[in-house]
Symmetry: C2
Subunit: 257 residues, 2 copies
């Protein structure tokens, strides 16, 4: 690992070039300005930023606040470091799509260069597909005696999350949202239903939108279009899933403790 405090511009140049050619992770604090041209185009005036080059050539420039990088390059075809008019330039180019990021540093506060090894796996505990699978294998959590017919089935406008059958033999078309459902979710469901109604009589179809909460406009649209709303408790579904996984010896507890 290399740590350089307050380097002059030539030392910074050499360090960055070495770090890039050896495909290491580089984290620097710079006083810089940035220009970007590609899918969009932007200018960022001078200021202090965190500058990162990752081992795959991804470049990130972060301001001192906020989640999002102010400028970036997801991965690069090449990165060129040079000195022009006494200023350090880092130019990161991506070819598909063609994009150019030009970082012009007036001052380099610090550079850290390291070879990072990260093989640790990442587990999402509950996303929409998992919620869908938990409901598919436990359709009664929706509060009725449903049976599962199909999961994530393509019909023409898109994918229906879940098909169930209710006690009266009707086809239940389920759209699932992991977070509060907005009017868009209702529209999506209506779209599926109108497509399905070519094959199934409308009276045999029950569209249900499943989510922890619903926006007001979603509630209005649902009422208007005959869409049922069913709330779910994601934490409850999570505990059901955990139980299932534990039963199969795949529990997350393995990883958590």
């Amino acid at each position: 690992m290399i740590i350089i405090n307050n380097p002059n511009i030539n030392d910074a140049l050499i360090a960055l070039r070495n770090g890039i050619s050896s495909k290491n992770t580089i984290v620097a604090l710079l006083h810089c300005r940035v220009r970007y041209e590609g899918r969009g185009s932007s200018v960022l005036e001078y200021g202090d930023r965190i500058f990162i080059i990752k081992q795959d050539g991804a470049v990130l420039i972060h301001r001192p606040t906020g989640y999002s990088p102010v400028n970036w390059q997801p991965s690069t075809s090449y990165i060129r470091v040079s000195i022009e008019n006494g200023l350090l330039h880092i130019i990161a180019v991506r070819n598909k799509p063609r994009e150019i990021l030009d970082v012009e540093a007036k001052k380099v506060y610090s550079i850290v260069i390291a070879s990072l090894t990260d093989t640790g796996r990442f587990y999402e505990v509950m996303d929409e597909s998992i919620i869908r699978d938990v409901i598919a294998s436990n359709p009664k959590v929706l509060g009725e005696n449903f049976t599962t017919i199909d999961v994530e089935k393509k019909i023409e406008p898109g994918f229906v999350d879940l098909y169930l059958r209710d006690e009266k033999g009707r086809l239940v078309v389920v759209e699932i949202k992991r977070v509060k459902a907005s009017v868009n979710a209702v529209k999506q469901l209506i779209k599926y239903v109108s497509s399905l109604s070519k094959y199934v009589p409308r009276g045999k179809l029950r569209p249900i939108l499943v989510a922890p909460e619903f926006t007001e406009s979603a509630i209005v649209a649902a009422k208007k279009h005959g869409v049922e709303l069913k709330s779910i408790d994601v934490l409850k579904l999570e505990s059901i899933r955990r139980r299932e996984l534990e039963k199969r010896g795949e529990g997350l507890l393995r990883y958590i403790r």
Copy 2:
């Protein structure tokens, strides 16, 4: 600025606590694992990562590749640093929504702490709102003798980008996309039109989708629903805008050179 190379766990603890309480930017390289619980929930096994605490309490954990952070906290209510069972813990809590991020570091490779000042302004040269404004002040770029009525106007399902009037006195409802428009853009426009048709007879309404390109399904859906498609050349609009800005002495050239 403080730079610490390979600190022991107690020195790391003290440095982090100082950095947090003084609201500085902290960038560290850690061998850590991460647990997240909140809107979602996830587990990240041990590995080397870039760890950042920003001056507003935002926390980012980056793996050595890729654009996105693997874990994060957009801004925090509080951050607590402690040692438990000989391991460094950084716990970042956000209250709305309630989310907890727990970083457990087994090894600290480096810590850099600095007070960054970044007042530099950020200019987007061409985003959708700018394209919309350029068309609004030059509606003839769409190839007809349009006049502008209104911009970014709320109707119930949402916001219409642009209202124009054509030579036959019809109300032109414009939806603008900066990049290739997909079928969703058509749907959005249809949504507005069906809402407007309560007030304006359908024959007096002209929905137009404006974008540099259109996906095949967008073209099909547009034809089916009577939506017109008009291509724009964003670069051409950009030169129009530049001319307008220069005329007003607000040209970007001020900033670019």
